[in-house]
Amino acid sequence: MIVAIPVLVIVASLGQPFSDAWQHLFDTVLSDYISNSLLLMAGVGFGTLLLGVSAAWLTAMCDFPGRKILSWAFLLPMAMPAYIIAYTYTGILDFSGPIQSTLRVMFGWSYGDYYFPQIRSLGGAICMLSLVLYPYVYMLVRIAFLEQSIAVLEASRNLGKKPWETFFLVALPISRPAIVAGVSLVLMETLADYGTVAYFGVSAFTTGIFRTWYGLGELTTAAQLCAFLLLFVFALIMAERWSRQRLRFHHNSANKKLVRMQLKGWHAYIALLIGCLIVGLGFVIPASQLLMWASSRWQENLNSEFLSLLFNSFSLAAITAICCVIVATFLAYTKRVFNSRLELGAVGVASLGYAVPGTVIAVGVLIPVAWLDNKIDFLSRVWFDIPTGLLLSGTIGILVFAYVVRFLSVSLNTVESGLSAIKPSIDESARSLGARPAQVLKRVHLPILRSSLLTATLLVFVDVLKELPTTLILRPFNFNTLAVRTYELASDERLVDAALPALAIVAIGLLPVLLITKSILNERASHE
């Protein structure tokens, strides 16, 4: 419930009077905000679905040269913050960038003589976000494919269904909880994105929230806009839950060895090509651009202060990831055991934080915490004559709390989708053998959930590494992270200097990606 407070603070703003600013928004820009955000969601949703599911299918179900490398390489773009990839691609593809400049010199063209897609546009934003967000879908769906009952797939093949039919008629429907979990994470992150859309000049809902707050000075109206955004997301989630209310997606144990489809000849080449294209666009190209920038200036930027940035970012991300996964497992499990309306509601509200722009979450945390601090201080002065000052505000603890609020749904969705694949009959057999719920969790569920838990840890870890706005506003004095440093330099349009901390984010993000995927990949092998 505590985790839900910041979200409730935002929703509570609806209780305040609506100011004149609303009239202005209605008359001018609101329809633009809404339509752009919806288009963005549709585009990114489709893009990540296409990239994520095909990547998962290729690496989980097929075999071709390069599959093993690709199966972890597909995760690489996840470590790339969306606004960083936006900056780098703009550097490359913009009118004044190297590609267009070379074209102009080669063919003697000037402005207006030729067509070149405008990178800074809604379409550009969709591409950028899809390229870095598809790994969410990929990870979850891949696990689902791997954990799917082989028997079902084999039955389908034995019944003479072609691979494509098996894919669309069997594998995809069975993986629905995982696909939904992945895509809804992507959509929430898309709605909360500010850096990319702001840089591309796309007036989406988030830019509207900040314009209303910063520009018009209307914090209440901005919070109300945000509350409507939350209601919309909540409605979407509920609609999806309702539509699959009757369906159950459990499967039998997956202990049988999966026989991957062997791709031969040009099939294998196409698979490899698709894989390389996705990883190349999402990671290799932007990372090499960053590397080029960073290499020109690394002596100046690599100093002892940089090491403290590394330490801060890493420890924050690790602590938050562990906290998030513990809270998520607790919530998902309570929900499974008690299944009461109140619990469902609380869990639903708590997981909305991901759709809220970080700065707004920060304000939602800041206001009640500062209020509590000031109350404690007041009471302590009255009763004991001791001023306590602000006990909680401005500590790293509050920062971690805000991260948990914001990223809980990442871990929750992952754990839930893993948990939903375990048949209730397993719980029942364990319980009937005399095990208490906690024992069932510890001895039965946690071992089965291992890859889901590790995935959840990884997702939160990488998200915290990239997180910027919450860190900016809530951090204590003299406390910097890699993302803060990257942002400060990039916002000053000093991309060359920003490249080193950006690369460091990517590098630290890769560490757990490699470790965890290795252990998840070995999952199958351990059964053989």
Binding site: G215, A370, I448, I473, F479, V484
Partner: protein, 350 residues
């Protein structure tokens, strides 16, 4: 199954084992900051920290810093109330200073010394805040395609001869908001709206990117003129990046409105918070920031103009020649900010 359970317990045990370390990590910042000086700064670290280090070296007062966006810091300051640890608020535009003043988080500090050093239109009339550096919003034009005699004022860029030739960033940007606010202050909302209606259709492309991107677009031929902050051009001229230097060399700077009210300017500035517990040090810092030495560094570091008339601008800036700046008190920019945004929304300036 057995195989699976082993690796899981490792991270969990390690997690519990690290609890003490983590608690220590989480609690560090709650240590008292008494006797030091605490600053919330919207000016980014690299553009202020060296100066604060210098202050520490001179006075022995340790300085603690949080940087962030102006309005976010202001919200933090407001909700922390009188218990806020912050002694000083630094922002990068007059609009935020005005908003902080209106929110009642700044206290009056009237100092003869500062009043003498800083011209009256670059500080609040009561002494809640003081400007520290000046940035001008100028016109940059392509040397090859634009004859500077074509240029005169911001207003003239709404003329039909400029159709499809103007680059400017989004109206989300505070400096564009301030520019329009200054027009509302000087000639009223009606005239400004009329100007916007003609100016926006002259854009060469939908607004996107930062000020440097607009300059690059002029250099590359996508548009002929751009409206940008002076320090971005300065930054490109002094950049180590050859491409930026090359782009900067293809454009020239024009000081608009020299025959009228002067070129639009904004300030970065500073104020002492109501919650300040280290008042003496805070006052010392403000005085320090207005000294010749600080002003010199503060201006040069970011290619800005010092507020102190006795301090010369950097070589790069001097190369652009002298200019007449708008004498409007910069708090007016804050006063008309919301009106400016609404007008830009109505004109369809993205």
């Amino acid at each position: 199954m057995r195989r699976r359970s082993v690796p899981l317990s490792v991270p969990l045990n390690a997690g519990f084992g690290a609890v003490f370390v983590i608690l220590a990590f989480l609690a560090t910042p709650t240590l008292s900051y008494g006797g030091e000086l605490n600053i919330y700064s919207a000016r980014q670290e690299s553009l202020i920290k060296p100066l604060l280090d210098r202050f520490t070296a001179l006075t022995g007062t340790k300085v603690n810093l949080v940087t962030g966006k102006g309005d976010a810091l202001l919200t933090r300051l407001k909700s922390e109330g009188l218990n806020s640890p912050a002694d000083v608020l630094l922002t990068t535009d007059a609009g935020r200073l005005y908003r902080a003043q209106k929110a009642g988080v700044l206290q009056v500090f009237s100092s003869q010394e500062l009043n003498k050093a800083i011209p009256a239109h670059l500080r609040s009339s009561e002494g809640e805040w003081y400007g520290l550096s000046v940035r001008a919003r100028v016109i940059v034009y392509a040397k090859e395609r634009v004859d500077p005699t074509e240029l005169s004022t911001y207003e003239a860029l709404s003329g039909s001869s400029w159709k499809g030739r103007v680059c400017i960033r989004s109206s989300n940007n505070i400096y564009n908001q301030s520019l329009v606010a200054s027009m509302i202050a000087s000639q009223g909302l009606e005239k400004t709206e009329a100007w916007l209606q003609n100016f926006v259709p002259n854009f060469a492309r939908p607004p996107a990117g930062g000020d440097r991107d607009q300059i690059k677009a002029v250099a590359a031929g996508q548009c002929d003129v751009a409206i940008v902050n002076s320090y971005y051009l300065g930054g490109m001229i002094t950049s180590d990046d050859k491409r930026q230097q090359e782009a900067a060399s293809k454009v020239s700077l024009f000081w608009p409105n020299q025959k009228g009210r002067g070129t639009h300017i904004n300030v970065s500035g500073v104020g002492i918070t109501h919650s300040a517990k280290n008042l003496v040090s805070a006052k010392q810092l403000l005085a320090f920031l207005a000294t010749d030495e600080s002003q010199q560094w503060y201006g040069e570091k970011n290619n800005e103009f010092p507020v102190r008339a006795t301090v010369g601008a950097s070589k790069t800036l001097n190369a652009w020649g002298p200019f007449i700046a708008d004498q409007l008190n910069v708090s007016e920019l804050g006063r008309y900010n919301a009106e400016a945004i609404m007008a830009m929304d109505r004109a369809g300036w993205k």
